[in-house]
Amino acid sequence: VDAAKSAGADYADCRISSARSQNIGTRERRVTNIGDNETFGFGVRVLVGGAWGFAASSNLTPDEVVRVARQAVAQAKANRAAMVKPLQLAPIHHPPVPNGVWRSPIRIDPFTVAIEDKVAYLLDANAAAMAAGARFVNSNMFFLKDEKTFASTLGTVTQQTIFRAQPGMTVTMTSPDNRDFTTRQSTDIQPKGLGYEHVLDNDMKQHAARWVEEAKEKLSAKPVEVGRYDLILHPTHLWLTIHEAIAHPTELDRAYGFEANYAGTSYLSPPEEKLGKFRMGPSFMNVLADRSAPGSLSACGWDDEGVAPEDFHIVKDGMFVDYQTTREQAMWLDWWYKQNGKPTRSHGCSYAQTWADVQFQRMPNVNLMPGERDLVWEDLIAATDNGIAIVGDGSFSIDQQRYNAQFGGQLFYEVKGGKITGMLKDVAYQIRTPEFWNALDMIGGKRSYELGGAFGDGKGQPAQSNAVSHGCPPTRHKQINVINTGRTA
């Protein structure tokens, strides 16, 4: 940071990161892969005359640190020549943090657990699935421990240790004539910002037989009749629809066209015509973003530009009211915040996947908040006369503006007269995003709220992956178009 400042930076920050990841994969009775990776390095980001520069290296020596800092400054000066409008950074809403420390709230560091134990866990779970009749079974674990230190010219120095864990299993069943097959993924165990206790607390061996039985039932289930149905969506399914159809289109860089070359734009654009004017859903619909939920994938103490993230509404009482922002982006909405008597400040959404990547706006946890009534999954089913209940996320497709989409799932249940009457297969629903959320007419309460999520939320060039959770209760959406994905011409 000092070298960058000496070279002419108006602002500079530096991240030093040591990240270790481990993945273990198995199939039936054998291990398919074990990988252990460590990457260490630092990245320097500078602002010179309103233009960014960034350089990074794995070679943390005094000479290389100075070279990289100067390289970042030289790059910013070059970029300034192609600048249209100098960027500005919004002030940070808290004083500099000179000695910040944050750590994921874990109980067991996954890297202290022997590989032997992890392999035994997976093979035991596979054995349970095979004993229950699975034709094929794959299972895996992935762990991350990222220790990163951040410092900026503002005087902030933070040290954070972030853990993530993802156990998973897929069982496959085939028809007796091998002409059809189906899978059941372990979507009721979601990835979390936790340690090895997440694996132990969700014993796949205990669930495996049920997943096999569900796959068997799905294979012989009744194909869905196309038409319009009331959909009851379980949190293990709905988190993905929230991710794709609320979280992505409310990224401010997408709305202004800065992701047009890769991730896409947004139907919530231009902001001047949408903020405070666009009705996303019914008045009981509230979408709150956070990076504070314990065990969530996006949780941190400070984002990658030293801002303590805050909880903020994206949708308030059904109205679209805010985007996800960084310090640079908050200034783009200065007019909106002034209009509403709010301070212009970042929501703390800056993130870089590694030391080698420049930080930019990434999604926090974006959550659909529970309703006031104490409703649960069974209440929504009991209140539905002709519907389909969907559990678990599956394949999907969505356009680059996040406007037209199609979602599958893991399990589909026919609901008649307030009761589940059997399983269906080949179900997918098609939506236009605003119509889908405005068709929301029932929502679960606090008791039914769960966190889903994913690693590998892609954006940016060079492409970077983000990890993010989405909390939600079950919901019901009236008269949604359902197609049959198994039909052939």
């Binding site: 054998r30 291990v31 398919t32 892969n33 074990i34 990988g35 252990d36 990776n37 460590e38 990457t39 260490f40 233009a51 960034f54 350089a55 990074a56 290296s57 794995s58 070679n59 000479d63 290389e64 100067r70 390289q71 070059a78 970029n79 020549a81 192609a82 600048m83 249209v84 590989i115 392999v119 993924q185 794709e244 202004y256 066209g257 800065f258 047009a260 070359n261 890769y262 991730a263 896409g264 734009t265 654009s269 231009p270 080698a356 990547d357 420049v358 930019f360 999907f396 497709s397 969505i398 680059q400 590998g456 939320d457 892609g458 954006k459 940016g460 060039q461 060079p462 492409a463 993010v468």
Partner: protein, 224 residues
């Protein structure tokens, strides 16, 4: 990595450096088979959108991947700290993990000695694609686009790396050691991937070039 000037051709480990690293790693190995891969170099990129540069970066990395095979048991470990202690620890970690891994009945042996031709895919122009040159290239797109009332968005990336791969086999590893190929100077540039959309307020009429959902490509560990 030795000190270098700010705008020298992008660095990567030389053949001699790769040979030294791979030899050192193989010397640490006690596995039945050990494969060492060294990948080093620079990635240089400039991104532009709405007719201006949005992000840019130059990053250098050098990583070593060790694949240890003990009987029918195998494990991979990757590190990018290249000091002796880190490399030795990585070898020990790979062998420790391999010993813990159950046997893989489908594991195939290494190919054995191979002949590789010298790679000829190096370009000094790509390897020295400085930030100024990238900014100039961007301006050559964005300024005419702006004058014509279009919005341009795109990305320039140049990579310059060396890749080395070496293996040993059996108890006679030091004697049987052989070079599997040190492929130098792999470089390529993806230039000027350009998308134009007519200006309609702040919206873009054009679709993204890479599909609507980079997150859709995989399921459990993949993207969303």
């Amino acid at each position: 990595m030795p000190a270098r000037s700010l705008y020298a051709i992008a660095p990567h480990l030389s053949r001699a450096e790769c040979e030294a690293i791979t030899k050192k790693v193989l010397g640490y190995s006690t596995a039945d088979e050990c494969r060492v891969t060294v990948n080093s170099g620079m990635r240089q990129n400039t991104r532009f959108a709405v007719n201006q540069i949005s992000t840019a970066g130059d990053d250098y990395n050098a990583a070593v991947t060790i694949r240890a095979v003990i009987g029918k048991r195998v494990a991979n470990v990757t590190v990018n700290r290249l000091d002796d202690a880190s490399l030795r620890a990585a070898v020990q970690n790979a062998e420790r993990i391999a010993r813990l891994a159950p046997e893989d009945p489908e594991l195939l042996p290494e190919l054995g000695p191979q002949q590789y031709q010298e790679a000829i895919n190096w370009s000094d122009a790509t390897a020295s694609l400085e930030p100024e040159a990238r900014a100039d290239a961007v301006r050559a797109i964005t300024e005419p686009a702006r004058r014509a009332g279009f919005i341009s968005t795109g990305y320039i990336e140049a990579n310059a790396n060396s890749f080395a791969d070496r293996q040993q086999q059996g108890a006679l590893r030091l004697l049987a050691q052989h070079l599997h190929g040190v492929h130098h100077h792999r470089a390529h540039a993806r230039r000027h991937r350009l998308r134009l959309g007519r200006r309609v307020g702040q919206r873009l009429g054009g679709a993204s070039t890479r599909g609507s959902s980079p997150s859709a490509r995989s399921r459990r560990r993949g993207g969303r």
